[in-house]
């Protein structure tokens, strides 16, 4: 069995991660005295023979050590592409990153050579994906896929690696780990497979874990378990978590801060509670309103956001949400709004909008939600 | 849709062959068995009067090749026709009628598919004896299982389609449904298969002739036969081998290119 000593890596931060999570201590204490992750003006395009898709159009955000950030948006808003771009995992043939920087601990990931990126992937930054069935190699045993990581990055020999792997499976809650090591992905259930993915991701104690729709492909009850596991790991490992999802419920329970993305841009970012209580961007308001409640009457109409998501084959001119927005003005259509601190909101709340939601409408929503925060 | 340069090249080549074949008597300087030169141990190669040279019996090679195109195209076309018609019938019956007849037909088809196509043809020829008609039948029969399978699949898929059910509910007899509704909708993959099958048919004919199982008439300018006859003359008259051989390759390549192009064009993944 492994000992704690074997797991030790030189501690980068001596701060108690749970304290940071509780917002008690300023989180700006990483080795570089800045945020752990700094994404600035990231742009991603996909170029094919007939057209160009502007998937990400100027995304900027920070992530501190041990912080949990949620990224919410509809399919096609660019949230997954952002994370893939960060790690250089986009398809080389069609993806272009014409602008932006992704600073992780001072290094710009977009400008690194492939072999340095390989060192960072899986070790400092890990990623888990949506569908655990297709994300695991079907002809390789689970144990092998686990030991691969620790042997590559931490230099363990076969015995140490197997011990570590069994320990990992145990930590993510898989019973009888030793036996399971020899088994193949198809012999696990969906939830278990996702746990295996998580185990693979945390094997080298990464400082940042990116979870791309980790629970979407799972049953609701399993969803809750997986999210609980992620929360527990964040706490014990002190790692930062970037949780990408389209489900507002998921961020509500898990993330300290949440960013809302639309058409390849972040339109609003705030501490989660603050976002739900005082949404500034019409899109965010629309999202919150569109979630049906258990206690609304039978004949309460569903309130979808009118219109359809933007076709991303053209570059942005003006606010992307304008065509669907009740508050849109001429300015919205002409000038691209930038993230600025929201006037009538709490600290750390930024919105990219020329016409943020008026107080009255927001209060109507809060009433609808029974004053829930 | 004509984005496929290969198909265009292929189509041109095939077109050229067809034209040559059709216009053979006009294009060829002499008949396929007409002797224009003397017997020679080392037959003369390509030159001004005889573009492809002469063979060991003094016959003009160019003429023989051109008339050979006629033969190959004819045999290829007819065998595919044989295979296609038989296969269509069997496949439609199997798909439409279903049940035990379906099982029986498909079992036989599977059995046939278990053997290498060419060897089956050899076996059939052994039973039927040599001769042009026998060859076309043998090669045709050997391609039946592929067509049968294709048609059966198509029929099965469409049997439950709305418009078929509609036609049925109106009392339209099954045969009519088959002919006017189901078959026209299955045309695309059948055309592709027919084209590709023609390519293999031409190679198979040449192969049979090469083994001495081809049409009995020694004068017939069959390309495979030419290869067999002159296999020992590589030193003295390699042109006697090169021209028929490359004729086969070019024609088959052309047909394959067209077939591939058709397959891309008629793919259900339309609507980019």
């Amino acid at each position: 069995m492994s000992t704690a000593a074997e797991w030790e890596r030189p501690a980068r931060s001596a701060i108690d991660p749970s304290a940071i999570a509780a917002g008690l201590i300023s989180s700006s204490r990483s080795t570089n005295n800045g945020p752990l992750l700094q994404v600035s003006d990231l742009e991603v395009r996909f170029v094919t023979r007939d057209r160009t898709v502007h998937a990400v159009n100027g995304v900027s955000f920070d992530l501190d050590v041990g912080e949990t950030l949620g990224i919410v948006g509809e399919s096609g808003c660019g949230k997954s592409v952002t994370s893939l771009a960060m790690l250089g995992l986009l398809p080389r043939a069609t993806a272009r990153v014409p602008a932006g920087s992704v600073r992780f601990d001072g290094e710009d990931l977009l400008r690194l050579r492939e072999d340095r990126l390989c060192q960072i992937r899986g070790r400092d930054i890990a990623m888990i994906f949506q569908d655990p069935m297709t994300s695991l190699n079907p002809v390789m045993s689970v144990g092998r896929q686990l030991t691969e990581t620790v042997r590559t990055h931490l230099g363990y020999d076969r015995g140490q690696a197997r011990d570590a792997a069994a320990d990992l499976l145990d930590r993510v809650g898989i019973p009888d780990p030793r036996r399971r090591l020899r088994e193949y992905p198809h012999q696990f259930s969906g939830g278990m497979r996702q746990r295996v993915m998580i185990a693979m991701a945390i094997a080298c104690r990464p400082r940042l874990l990116i979870a791309d729709e980790p629970s979407t492909a799972l049953d609701v009850t399993i969803q809750a378990q997986i999210l609980k596991l992620l929360r527990a790991l964040v706490e014990t490992e002190g790692m930062a978590l970037m949780l990408i999802t389209h489900d507002l419920g998921v961020v509500a329970g898990t993330c300290e801060r949440t960013a809302v993305m639309y058409a390849g841009r972040i339109v609003e970012i705030a501490p989660t509670a603050e976002l739900f209580a005082r949404p500034q961007h019409p899109y965010t308001l629309g999202l919150l309103r569109s979630v049906p409640r258990l206690d609304s009457g039978h004949d309460t109409a569903l309130a979808p956001i009118p219109g359809a998501p933007r076709d991303q084959t053209a570059a942005l001119t003006g606010c992307a949400f304008a065509p669907r927005c009740t508050y849109a003005t001429q300015e919205s259509r002409e000038r691209l709004p930038v993230l600025t601190p929201a006037p009538s909101a709490g600290a750390g709340h930024q919105v990219a909008c020329w016409n943020p939601v008026p107080e009255a409408d927001r209060r109507a929503l809060t009433r609808l939600q029974g004053g829930q925060t | 849709m004509r984005r496929n340069p290969g198909a265009i090249v292929g189509g041109t080549v095939v077109g050229l062959f067809v034209l040559l074949a059709l216009a053979a008597p006009l294009v060829a300087p002499s008949g396929p068995t007409e002797v224009v030169g003397g017997l020679a141990r080392t037959p003369p190669g390509p030159r001004a009067e005889h573009w492809f040279g002469l063979d060991e019996q003094g016959r003009d090679m160019f003429s023989r090749i051109v008339f050979g195109a006629r033969l190959s195209l004819l045999v290829g076309f007819v065998s595919v026709l044989v295979g296609l018609s038989l296969g269509l019938v069997l496949g439609s019956v199997a798909g439409f009628v279903g049940g035990r007849i379906d099982s029986l037909i498909m079992r036989v088809m599977d059995l046939m598919l278990a053997f290498p196509q060419f060897l089956l043809a050899v076996g059939l020829i052994t039973l039927l004896g040599p001769g042009l008609i026998q060859i076309m039948v043998a090669i045709g029969v050997v391609t039946v299982p592929q067509f049968a399978r294709l048609l059966r699949g198509s029929v099965l898929a469409q049997r439950e389609a709305d418009y078929v059910l509609a036609a049925r509910s109106l009392g339209t007899p099954s045969l009519r449904i088959l002919l006017t509704h189901v078959l026209p909708n299955s045309i695309a993959p059948v055309i592709v298969l027919a084209t590709l099958t023609m390519a293999t048919a031409i190679i198979d004919v040449a192969g049979l002739s090469f083994l001495g199982l081809g049409p009995a008439d020694p004068g017939l300018p069959e390309w495979g036969r030419m290869l067999a006859d002159n296999a020992s003359r590589l030193e003295s008259g390699v042109h006697l081998v090169l021209f028929p051989g490359f004729a086969i390759v070019l024609l088959v390549l052309g047909i394959n290119l067209v077939g591939d192009g058709l397959r891309e064009a008629l793919d259900p993944r339309l609507g980019r």
């Binding site: - | 290498p116 040449a206 590589l234």
Partner: protein, 334 residues
Amino acid sequence: MLKYLARRLLLVIPVLFVTSLLVFLFIRALPGGPAIALLGERATPEAVEAFEQARGLDRPVYEQYWDYLRNVLSGDLGASIRSRQPVTDELLVRFPATVELAVAAILFAVLIGVPLGFLAAKHYQGALDQTSLVASLIGISFPVFFLGLLLKYVFAVRFDLLPTTGRIDVRSGFDGQTNFLILDTILARDWAALRDVLAHLVLPAVALGTIPLAIIARITRAATLDVLGEDYVRTARAKGLKASVVDRRHVLGNALLPVVTVIGLQAGLLLTGAVLTETVFNWPGVGQWVVAAIANRDYAVLQGGILFFALVVILVNLLVDLSYAFLNPRIRLR
């Protein structure tokens, strides 16, 4: 896995029966009747009648079939009309030649085809990819016998580089025990003879293996492209594994599964090709033997040859099924 193995092996038996029945019927259907077939066309009517009585050809068909089956199972396949030798003996001498050729051809096809297809997929739509696609197309449009003749011309007639007839220099006088000449020469440590054998093997193997090469390359390319788009390859990269490691361990392993099946399916192609290639290169194998038998109406030989081919096809299919079951953990762990 064991259950699957057992089931699969048992399946072979009915297949063998059906095959023997078909061959039996085939021989009896040949023009001239079995008596003429096995005695030769010049047999006198008395000889024919005696033959028919002796062989019990006046007995009901199923009894004849039973006799036939017993003969086959005890190794008696009749005698060749031409050589008057028992078919079984000659078959035992000839089949190693065909097998050696076929194995060499498939090795050639796999060792070049698989890497080619893999690289073409990795550099999708690059120069290698485009050229290999064109080459594949040309490859399958080439009749095997023309390719053989062409190779013969270039390598033997034009530039006297390689031998083109038979398996070994007629003057060498080497006599192997198993007739698997590569094995025999190694066992006898006759290196000169080994070189000679290999030299003779090159051209026929290349001719025979070219079409399978084209097909294998294409299939490998398709399979690799499929795998490269799979999520687990992305996961492997996300774990920080180097590209070469990802290729080797994750991509190849999965891409090779369908390729293995295809390799097995080439057996049919190889048999066909063997018949034609052996004729071109005067290779003393079963193919050439069978072709001659058809021309000579040597039907006992024909029967032996067909049974041999059928057996090979059945065996190869069995091997392919078993190896696929072994390689795919979803089937292996049942």
